[in-house]
Amino acid sequence: MRVLVIEDYELLRESLREGLREAGYAADVAADGKTGLWMATGAEYDVIILDVMLPEIDGITLLKKLREAKSDASVLILTARDATEDRILGLDAGADDYLVKPFAFAELLARVRAMVRRGYRSKNPVIEIEDLCIDTTSRTVRRADVPVELTAREFALLEYLAMRSGAVVSRTEIWEHLYELHCDAGSNVVDVYIGHLRRKLEKPGQSRLIHTRRGQGYMLGVDEVSIR
């Protein structure tokens, strides 16, 4: 999942970037409203964490412009003012949620997870596909009740595929949702990670979970085409 942090206070911005990365998100950052808006409209973000008081363009104006540009990224507003009017203002401008500074980072992560789930129309933090069970909160995976050890990147890939299970997901989409802006890796790294995932999830004797659609991408779940 890809997250954009727009915050002018460096200490907070960098800590959020680091914390989100360590929690398995691809995190980009912007220090002012103008750069933030440019980045938010230029790429597919699952969640945007937005400070209200920003240089160049303030958070609320940025949010309105973002919604005008038909972006449907989930937006979490960070505000230092806890007056009701301020929260209403943010939510009415198109925010999905808000947090009042200072906040607990664990709470921010939980809210980001919930927003990601909502973004993919999924309410349960535990995704079950056939005998595969993915717990997005504890970030653990089991297949046929056997725990599967995954790296952060592998888990992120599996989580994204699981959120969109039943649909074919292109390499570009995967790449866009999993890699940060200044990543040198090309979209062919997706194939490499798909290979890693398959090795770990599809042990001998187990059914195929990740299906390849040649020229289109990948799909997680029951492959109706191969059943047919």
Binding site: L11, A83, V100, P102
Partner: protein, 479 residues
């Protein structure tokens, strides 16, 4: 506590009682006077009647009455008369009136007075000096002209008991006292009610004022039912409420700003530490995190310090120790702390510092200079220039701090002294420049007896500080 109601009631009652008492006393005196006059007139008539009976013959003065007694005085012991000749010798006297003395009315034609009665009470007497009728005028003429005057005159003193008169006066006195007492009590009651009713609007006003809490300072006291005399009070109160409301609003805004300015670095600190604690890290990473947190805490500390200084300045509790200070060398000294930062931003520095003595507090002046230089270095453009200038100008010394690359509109120049104001419409550099520095500068310079103005023209931002020079000031102690 003095009660207006009590004072009004006591005041009006005292005044009314004094007026009533004076009226009663005047009335009493007037009635008494007229009663005495009437008494005296009656006595005069009696005295004249007796004097008509007196005649003078060869043997001397005598009273020409049958049986030697006047019947109307016979049966009375408290009324009587006495007749004296010109020499004061008693000629005749009614029975039982030894208290009628020869001294009464002696030496005057018409005298009157009171005399004590032996049986208690008093009597009113009146004397009449007259020339008695001569019994034989021809004989008198033959003996030569009769001598008028002391020898020939006679004096009659008539007296009558004043017991009944005194009784009437006593009744009159009691009557007046009773009327006075009753009216006083009635007046007190009426006054209490009238004053109470008159003060009712005040009670209502107090209730209205009491109902205004700190949350509804926008409410105003209604003036339609207020008496005319209290209208100015209500208007002043409403004016005061508006001013208090504005102050409270500003204070709330300020507190919200303080909260915001402290919350953001606090959020940064919390998140940084939480992220660092998520899993074990190498010592070097922890060291970096601690250094970052330390820098953030120092920033917060500086802001709290500035806020405290501002609060002290606002409360007038900032201690000022004036000394002779050379502003040029002080600016040069403070500049050294910022030279590296300006160098890092590739700024061209122009120093023009002419020695100039000012009578000022070294510490406070340093705070101002630091803030001005810090602003210029932080907000001036990269690779631009900074100018620091100290110039003596007669009785004052001028300090100018200029930087290129100003993005502040000329119309915004007065706003730079507002608390938490930032050049950016939103904000820049949260946690580093809180927007309090110039506000503190203005407050401090004002306390030091100087002035500070900012201008922005053609991309150049200038702050001009004027301080009184040491010349001509005697209150300075040079260490």
């Amino acid at each position: 506590m003095k009660s207006l109601r009590g004072r009004l009631i006591v005041g009006t009652i005292c005044a009314t009682l004094a007026i009533f008492a004076a009226a009663a006393i005047v009335l009493y005196i007037a009635i008494r006077h007229s009663l005495i006059a009437e008494f005296d007139r009656a006595l005069l008539v009696q005295a004249q009647a007796i004097s008509a009976l007196a005649e003078m013959d060869r043997r001397g003065l005598r009273l020409d009455i049958e049986g030697g007694r006047l019947p109307q005085y016979e049966s009375q012991s408290d009324a009587g008369y006495a007749l004296f000749d010109g020499a004061g010798k008693e000629i005749h006297r009614s029975d039982g009136t030894p208290w009628l003395g020869a001294h009464m009315g002696d030496g005057s034609r018409d005298a009157m007075g009171f005399a004590r009665l032996p049986g208690g009470g008093r009597a009113r007497w009146r004397s009449l000096t007259f020339t008695p009728r001569m019994e034989d005028a021809e004989e008198d003429d033959a003996r030569g002209p009769r001598q008028a005057g002391a020898g020939g005159d006679a004096r009659v003193v008539v007296a009558q008991s004043a017991v009944r008169f005194d009784e009437r006066l006593r009744i009159l006195g009691w009557l007046l006292a009773t009327v006075f007492a009753t009216t006083s009590v009635a007046t007190a009651g009426v006054m209490a009610r009238v004053v109470g009713r008159g003060l009712l609007p005040m009670t209502r006003l107090a209730a209205q004022i009491g109902a205004i809490g700190e949350r509804d300072l926008a409410r105003r006291i209604e003036s339609q039912d207020v008496p005319l005399e209290m209208l100015p009070v209500v208007q002043r109160l409403n004016d005061l409420l508006s001013r208090v409301g504005i102050l409270v609003e500003r204070e709330r805004g300020f507190s919200a700003d303080v909260a915001h300015e402290l919350r953001t670095p606090l959020a940064g600190l919390v998140t940084t530490m939480e992220v660092a604690a998520m899993h074990p890290r190498p010592a070097d990473e922890y060291r970096k995190t601690i250094q970052k947190c330390l820098a953030a805490t120092q920033g917060m500390h500086a802001m709290v310090q500035t806020l405290l200084t501002l609060a002290r300045a606002d409360a007038g509790r900032l201690e000022i120790q004036r000394r002779h200070v050379d502003l040029a060398s002080l600016v040069g000294e403070r500049w050294k702390h910022f030279a590296d930062a300006a160098d890092a931003r590739d700024m061209d520095v122009r120093l023009s510092l002419t020695p100039a003595g000012v009578a000022t507090d070294r510490e406070l002046a340093s705070v101002v200079i630091d803030n001005l230089i810090d602003n210029a270095v932080a907000h001036g453009e990269q690779s631009g220039w900074i100018e620091l200038r100290v110039t003596p100008d007669g009785s004052r010394v001028v300090l100018i701090v200029r930087n290129s690359g100003s993005r502040i509109a000329p119309s915004d120049c007065e706003n730079v002294f507002g608390r938490f104001w930032r050049g950016d419409s939103a904000r820049t550099m949260t946690g580093l420049h809180s927007g309090l520095g110039l506000s503190l500068c203005r407050r401090t310079i004002e306390m030091l007896g100087g002035s500070i103005v900012a201008t922005s023209d053609g991309g150049v931002f200038e702050v001009k500080v004027i301080l009184p020079s040491t010349d001509g000031s005697d209150a300075i102690t040079t260490p």
